[in-house]
């Protein structure tokens, strides 16, 4: 084995550790932002007492979660109960193996070109959808293993919701794949560079508006955010699948949820909003535009959460099967006709 391969391997390990660290710490600012957004939308201030403008509140929450008693119900399936949060968390993290955050940058001091992705899979989008879909097992297993009717109902709802919306989500991605002729996320982003008529960015949202709407709605359902957060419906299921969870196990579920939200935003940006492509003659800064767009989508998810009420379960199902699924098929058909 020569030295170059070793450096490559070391680089990948460093990147993996870096991405995981970022993902592990991401919920800390995100919970704060979410509570602030919630507060200001409801004409409150949100957390304000721990640190300036309550910025240390999530740290305090984290310490609290660490020192809370770790309770497992007496009649719960102990092993499944313990591993369900991991089942949910690992796929959510594994998704990031295929996600590109930018093209290449040159690190100034060692003068080496580094790619801003862990791997460029030629089936990237398929991998992400498939692995992301596994995440639901954690929710179902957690709901089942808790031996509680609320948790079980949450798990069942979650599985039904995932099945119905996963299809629409995947179909909406197919439109993008058809136009850009590749399953690799890097190619999809590269296809979207440049402009139409000199000033409109050449993003897929221009070609696939229906696809984007379907993708966005289905993604909301996939990540259990509010108009579709039936698995953890506070009103009727207390907290759904994580009713019986406490302390760190509960925080793993929360971590999964936030990571899934980031994944959905990242996918929306890569598939429909040109990834790290700078809009309107703005200067290209590595990662900056990508993070800005993802941040906008995360904000949008929070904004929607505190705007819309929750759908009823039958409404959720009828939207999924009767509207989104036919629409996504129609979208594929229209895209195909245009490509001909």
């Amino acid at each position: 084995m020569d030295i170059n391969t070793l450096i490559e391997v070391a680089l990948i390990i460093v990147k993996v550790i870096f991405v995981s660290l970022i993902l592990f710490t991401l919920p800390i600012p995100l919970t704060w932002i979410e509570r602030k957004v919630a507060g200001h939308i409801q004409v409150r201030l949100g957390p304000f007492r721990v640190g300036p403008h309550g910025i240390l509140q999530p740290v305090a929450d984290m310490i609290k979660l660490m020192f809370k008693e770790d309770i497992a119900p007496e009649k719960a399936d102990k092993w499944l109960f313990r591993f369900a949060p991991l089942f949910a968390m690992i796929p959510a993290f594994a998704v990031y193996a295929a996600i590109p955050f930018g093209d290449k940058i040159t690190i100034p001091i060692i003068n080496k070109e580094v790619t801003l992705y862990i791997s460029d899979m030629n089936v990237g989008i398929l991998y992400i959808l498939a692995v992301g879909g596994i995440s639901v097992y954690g929710i179902i297993l957690g709901g089942w293993a808790s031996n509680s009717k609320y948790a079980l109902l949450g798990g069942i709802r979650s599985s039904a919701q995932m099945i119905s919306y996963e299809i629409a989500l995947t179909f909406s991605c197919i439109g993008v794949v058809m136009t850009s002729n590749s399953l690799s996320l890097l190619d999809i982003v590269k296809f979207q560079s440049g402009t139409i008529l000199g000033f409109i960015p050449n993003w897929n949202i221009i070609y696939q508006p229906i696809g984007f709407v379907i993708f966005f709605i289905a993604a909301l359902a996939e990540i259990n955010r509010i108009p579709f957060d039936l698995p953890e419906d506070e009103g009727s299921l207390a907290a759904g699948y994580h009713v019986e969870y406490s302390a760190m196990k509960f925080s793993f579920f929360m971590l999964t949820e936030y990571v899934a939200m980031v994944t959905a935003s990242v996918l929306a940006v890569i598939l429909f909003f040109g990834g790290w492509d700078a809009p309107l003659f703005m200067p290209e800064i590595p990662i900056f535009w990508f993070v800005a767009k993802v941040g906008f989508f995360i904000y949008l998810f929070m904004w929607i959460r505190f705007t819309l009420p929750r759908y009823r379960y039958d409404q959720l199902m009828s939207i999924g099967w009767k509207i989104l699924l036919p629409l996504s098929l129609l979208n594929i058909l229209i895209t195909g006709l245009f490509l001909l």
Binding site: V43, V213, W303
Partner: protein
């Protein structure tokens, strides 16, 4: 029209713009114990004050009309002779005690008072750890208050939270005030 509304998510966008409007609007939260405090209007009926006249003499002549007028019989007045000029006449209150647990802050005592000695003040932080402070004695009622009577009130004023051995004190800064809404 309704199909147009559905296709372009008009109601959804309306809802989002409404919440965005609220998000950028000023919040109504009063950061009460930490930074802000409500300075009530002058008509507020809080902890009673015993007043003095311009020369610093006690206005109370211990006529006991307030005690008679009190519907809950929470005021105890014991008069005594005095020739040192503490009060405006030669009769002052030896004991003047208001049982704040019984008091319902109706303000009938200030109506009954012929010398405007007793007035409802603007202190409302009356909670404490023992029943000792539930009886307001003469010394406490005569003491100057943080919000003076002339202050207009009806504002949120900046305040500072102070913790000490006796408990928590929220010190208002009456010069820095703002309307609540």
């Amino acid at each position: 029209m309704s199909i147009f509304k559905k296709i372009f998510f008009i109601d959804f966008i309306k809802g989002l713009s409404l919440t965005l409007g609220y998000e950028v609007s000023k919040s109504v939260t009063m950061r009460y114990p930490d930074e802000e405090k409500w300075a009530p209007y002058q008509r507020f009926r809080g902890l009673h004050t015993l007043n003095r006249d311009a020369q610093g003499r006690e206005l109370c002549v211990a006529c006991e009309l307030c005690a008679k007028a009190c519907p809950t019989k929470c005021i105890t007045v014991v008069p005594m002779e005095d020739d040192k000029g503490i009060g405006i006449s030669d009769r002052i209150a030896k004991v003047y005690e208001i049982n704040l647990v019984r008091c319902m802050f109706c303000g009938l005592c200030e109506d009954a008072c012929p010398t405007t000695a007793i007035r409802m003040g603007r202190d409302y932080e009356l909670a404490c750890f023992s029943l000792d402070c539930a009886a307001a004695d003469k010394k406490r009622l005569l003491a100057p208050r943080e919000i003076p009577q002339e202050f207009e009130g009806g504002y949120v004023v900046m305040a500072r939270l102070e913790r000490n051995k006796e408990g928590i004190n929220i010190k208002p800064d009456l010069t820095r005030k703002k309307r609540w809404w």
